[in-house]
């Protein structure tokens, strides 16, 4: 029993005690867990806000929220989910915790900068909350489109400043990860021996680094416009409002790959472990991660087909959008091919990963409907779009987050959770999800616009269905979280490698010691070589 020596018991600066051993720590594992609690809080808050929105929409007319409140709440839901949950969730929580472990080192390259990123993240959250109570949260939607974001009386400046600070946190995390991967890999680990989750974080970090500054400067411009009224986006003064959209999506489209790439990395870790089979096309997955990072930066204007930009641009960006679909599809095929003829062990993380593949594929394929310029004009700014991006962001990244939680929970806390409740919750979330979002596809095709608190009578059935599904989904999410939290009461007895993983984080006790490894970790020639695991794990993984 060597759990007394885990990182929970050894503060990273030995003189720190109590709460300070967390708040001033430079241990990447503790910082990862602090991110976990913060992102978890924001996620559940934004889930409840989303629930409120659907509750309002369940019945026609004004039932629960006034139109004004509705506008502020959907903005708040979007801002929290995007800037405070999806973007930091996988890189900042699991990246922080597992990236150094997967490459066989003891911390990130800039540990203090890492802590500072966490504080920037928290500061951004606090500023966002603060803007709620000053002049009311913005009612612009998370996109802060001009001219409304400049003319509205709500507190846009504070909210965009919050997003600016959060962008900084995300950028610095990316910077830290790239340097860590370059400079601190285990000496025996070559580039093509890096686990796929770390590879996906590497690609993500580059996007974070090179795309985030664009949103920073754009948000600064929104503030400048509000305070100094230069008129850069005001057509009456010579500005072009569409240029704001260009700048905004130059970041925000690459940002959707910041959101999904680490999710794909998680799935690429989980699938081979439970198929007990080497990942199909390791190099293809690595290459497609990098290809997504590059190609994802070339397609921003496909959010703007109806904005009034030139037809040439519509044509070019539509074409490029279809190109981006290819690397994503390569990954889906690789996962499915990995499962083919594998010795599959069903566990909650695998179950959630399978749900991910299905939901993400639906999200990706409906994305092609939106990427095609002709079809997009019919469904632009309708509930079809809402459903599409929830399928990719929630069905994709959200489910990858759940899967990662279930996969790495025993490693992070040293405790196994109850499988039965995990399955029940996962089924509820997935089933609820489908009932929640599929009606929105239909509503969108019928023409129901997004961002309205009321609708015409013909949309009543679909909205009722969606609200009903949403209820199951929310119950499922809380059940899943409760199950995980209850596991903390259990005895800390998870084995070092409960699943049969072969990446380096499984070669050390659960939870890991302060310096991650008890001895020198052994780097495999190929990161997904399961031959030894198959001998060792002739039996099912144990719950407790």
């Amino acid at each position: 029993m060597d759990f007394e020596k885990s990182f929970f018991e050894t503060p990273s600066s030995a003189r720190l005690t109590g709460i300070w051993s967390w708040l001033l720590t430079t241990d990447h594992k503790r910082i990862g867990l602090m991110y976990l609690f913060a992102t978890g809080f924001w996620f559940l808050l934004a889930v409840l806000l989303g629930g409120l929105l659907r509750l309002e929409l369940m019945f026609p007319g004004q039932t629960l929220l006034s139109s004004h409140l509705y506008n502020s709440i959907f903005t708040l839901h979007g801002v929290i989910m995007i800037f405070l949950f999806i973007i930091p969730a996988l890189p900042a929580v699991f990246g922080n915790f597992f990236l150094p472990m997967q490459i066989g080192t003891d911390d990130v390259f800039f540990p203090k900068l890492n802590l500072m990123s966490w504080y920037l993240y928290m500061l951004g959250g606090v500023i966002a909350i603060f803007s709620l109570f000053s002049d009311g949260f913005p009612d612009t939607g998370w996109t802060f489109y001009v001219p409304f974001s400049i003319s509205t009386n709500t507190n846009v400046s504070t909210a965009v400043f919050a997003a600016f600070v959060l962008g900084f946190a995300s950028m610095l995390t990316g910077l830290n990860f790239i340097t860590t991967i370059h400079r601190m890999r285990h000496p025996k680990m070559g580039w093509l021996q890096i686990p796929l989750f770390t590879w996906s974080l590497y690609a993500t970090s580059w996007v974070q680094l090179l795309a985030t500054p664009i949103i920073s400067v754009t948000l600064v411009l929104v503030m400048v416009e509000r305070y100094f009224n230069v008129g850069l986006f005001d057509p009456a003064r010579g500005g072009g409002p569409i240029l704001y959209q260009h700048l905004f999506w130059m970041y925000s489209h690459p940002a959707v790959y910041i959101m999904i790439l680490p999710g794909m990395g998680v799935i690429s870790e989980i699938i081979p472990v439970f198929a007990r089979k080497s990942i199909f096309g390791y190099k293809a997955i690595v290459a497609s991660s990098m290809a997504i990072a590059v190609a994802g930066s070339l397609v921003w204007a496909h959010h703007m087909y109806t904005s009034g930009m030139s037809d040439t641009a519509v044509f070019v960006f539509s074409f490029l959008t279809f190109v981006v679909a290819i690397p994503s599809a390569i990954k889906v095929f690789s996962w499915v091919a990995t499962l083919y003829k594998g010795a599959i062990e069903m566990t909650p993380p695998l179950f959630l990963s399978l749900c991910f593949i299905y939901l993400f594929s639906v999200g990706g394929l409906t994305g092609l409907v939106l990427g095609g310029a002709g079809t997009d004009i019919h469904v632009h700014d309708t509930h079809f779009v809402v459903s599409h991006f929830h399928f990719t962001m929630f069905g994709g990244t959200g489910f990858a987050f759940f899967a990662a939680l279930h996969y790495w929970w025993p490693k992070m806390f040293g405790r196994m959770y109850n499988f039965k409740w995990a399955y029940i919750a996962s089924v509820l979330v997935t089933g609820g999800f489908i009932f929640h979002y599929v009606p929105m596809f239909i509503l969108g095709l019928q023409g129901m616009p997004r961002r309205y608190y009321d609708y015409l009578p013909q949309y009543a059935n679909g909205n009722f269905m969606a609200g009903f599904g949403g209820l199951f989904m929310i119950v499922g999410i809380f059940m899943m979280m409760t199950n995980l939290i209850l596991s903390l009461k259990r005895e800390r007895n998870a084995p070092a490698d409960p699943w049969g993983g072969v990446t380096l984080e499984w070669m050390t006790p659960s939870p890991p010691p302060l310096h991650n490894f008890t001895g020198e970790p052994e780097v495999l020639d190929y990161p997904y070589d399961f031959s030894k695991v198959i001998e060792k794990f002739a039996r099912k993984p144990k719950e407790s």
Binding site: T105, F109, R183, M184, V217, V224, V230, L232, G238
Partner: protein
């Protein structure tokens, strides 16, 4: 496994940060490119309205300051502490002169009634409003970077003075220098875009 001695890793982190700065200004250059192509003749007129002398003097000052920083790096590698300190001090002086020049330049423009949301710009052609809007935003952001760079250099100055930056460990000074060069690099592009469009 310890990272603390990895000086070139720290430098890499700084370079990555410089990329973000390049893209930050890049967003503004996107706007410049678009508005320049739309209002070429107004931009040329606006460029004539800026003082070429101020622009040239500030360019020379920044180039010299960049040289001073580069010399400081050579000096620290050779262990010539006095030269390091005087080079950094010279660079800080250049930065200060740059800011003073900027102050007079802006002050002059504002006195002429050319500033964001001024009546003169609102009544004038749209293109001029865009030109001076971008002028204030880009040079303002650049000025802010000068201040940050000077702070960074001043901190390194202190560290050299007390001997925490030495010939063996000078990543901090080197990074401050890199940041300063970047500020110069951006000015190298700002200068022709605003002062030489005639």
């Amino acid at each position: 496994m310890s990272s603390h001695a990895d000086e070139s890793g720290k430098k890499m982190g700084m370079w990555l940060f410089l990329y973000t700065e390049i893209i930050l200004f890049g967003g503004l250059f996107v706007l410049y490119a678009v508005y320049f192509s739309r209002y070429t003749s107004d931009f040329i007129e606006g460029g004539k309205g800026l003082s070429l002398i101020f622009g040239v003097v500030n360019t020379i000052i920044l180039l010299i300051s960049s040289f001073a920083v580069a010399a400081a790096i050579t000096a620290i590698q050779r262990g010539q502490k006095k030269i390091v300190l005087s080079a950094i001090a010279g660079c800080l002086g250049c930065g200060a002169i740059f800011l003073v020049n900027k102050y007079f330049e802006w002050g002059h423009k504002i006195a002429l009634g050319i500033y964001p949301n001024s009546d003169r710009l609102l009544d004038g052609p749209d293109g001029l409003n865009m030109f001076f809007g971008l002028y204030y935003i880009i040079t303002g952001l650049h000025g802010l970077h000068i201040v940050i760079g000077m702070t960074f250099l001043a901190v390194s100055f202190g560290f050299v003075l007390v001997g925490r930056v030495t010939a063996k460990r000078f990543a901090l000074l080197e990074n401050a220098g890199l940041y300063w060069h970047l500020v110069d690099l951006i000015w190298i592009f700002i200068f022709p875009l605003f002062y030489l469009v005639v």
